[in-house]
Subunit: 155 residues, 2 copies
DNA sequence: TTATTTGCAAAGTCTTTGCAAGCAG
DNA sequence: CTGCTTGCAAAGACTTTGCAAATAA
């Protein structure tokens, strides 16, 4: 589990925060810590994080979780992913290509989300960065269609 | 405007619907028509569509718009896109590579969305289809990072 | 000290659902 | 006819916001 190289870890948090004029707080640290500890379980929503906090008897409020996730995303420590299931989900912005370069296949019939490991985007990213001046920290690729199950069951 | 080849047009709607056991209704036809007429303006939300309907003195209710967008997506006639701005957006599933293969650059600081025309995904799609049995109708690619404006203003 | 941050509860936004009436096939 | 659809209003889910108290630097 700990073989993943995070682009940013809890130890870099204070620096990242003050760099942008924000303060280090135990709440922010604890929320980021949850992502590090659960790096095997991607795609956590605010509610997921909140549940884990309550199990740990933490006093952190849900609004604080939302604010922290927003902030950590803005700092590039987390990335927001969206499966159209009604809530924003987040994962660590990891440097591990196995994680960094996974794509999502979303069935438009049954809404199932399938992960797919494969990448061809480095070249594209470099090209975009050059042409647009955009500094890319992460990408998200989704393919929409019918999963093999739904294709079998008629169409 | 009409040079875009839609994968499916209003004329195919009846067939696509009955194929899946759904009925053709004036509401569904009218809502799809709006996307065809506004094919230059991508990314319409349910609310956007509803506003256009009201301007045309249409009696179609908002709930019906939501239901139609859902259905048209399920049929692969529309595609859902998501910019994390809190609402689901849709566009025609067009065969025009200029539209089909545009990507989105999303600034995690100012939330700006920049469109970028370029593609390298055909190969990847073919590979995924083969390995997973997934029938891909469309894809969505988003790059997250800092836009050139936000990079200039400190960071 | 002083501006930022937190927790709570209330408010807001987007979306879904229940149901009777209306329609398409 | 019969089951799918619609429109409305109410409910629901997720997220944001106002504010006083707490706190990091």
């Amino acid at each position: 589990m700990s073989e993943n190289r995070q682009l940013f870890g809890v130890s870099d948090l204070r620096g990242k925060l003050s760099e942008h004029g924000y303060k280090m707080t135990p709440q922010r640290k604890e929320i980021l810590q949850i992502f590090v500890e659960h790096s095997d379980y991607h795609h956590m929503s605010a509610e997921d994080v909140y549940k884990i906090l309550r199990e740990k008897d933490s006093e952190i409020g849900l609004a604080t979780v939302y604010r922290a996730l927003d902030l950590l995303s803005e700092l590039g420590i987390l990335v927001q992913v969206d499966f159209g299931d009604g809530c924003a989900r987040y994962e660590l912005n990891t440097a591990d290509p196995k994680i960094h370069h996974h794509h999502h296949l979303i069935c438009i019939k049954c809404k199932k989300v399938i992960e797919f490991e494969e990448d061809l985007l480095d070249e594209l990213e470099a090209d975009i960065a050059e042409k647009s001046g955009f500094e890319i920290l992460n990408h998200e690729v989704k393919f929409f269609g019918y999963c093999s199950d739904c294709r079998k069951k008629g169409d």
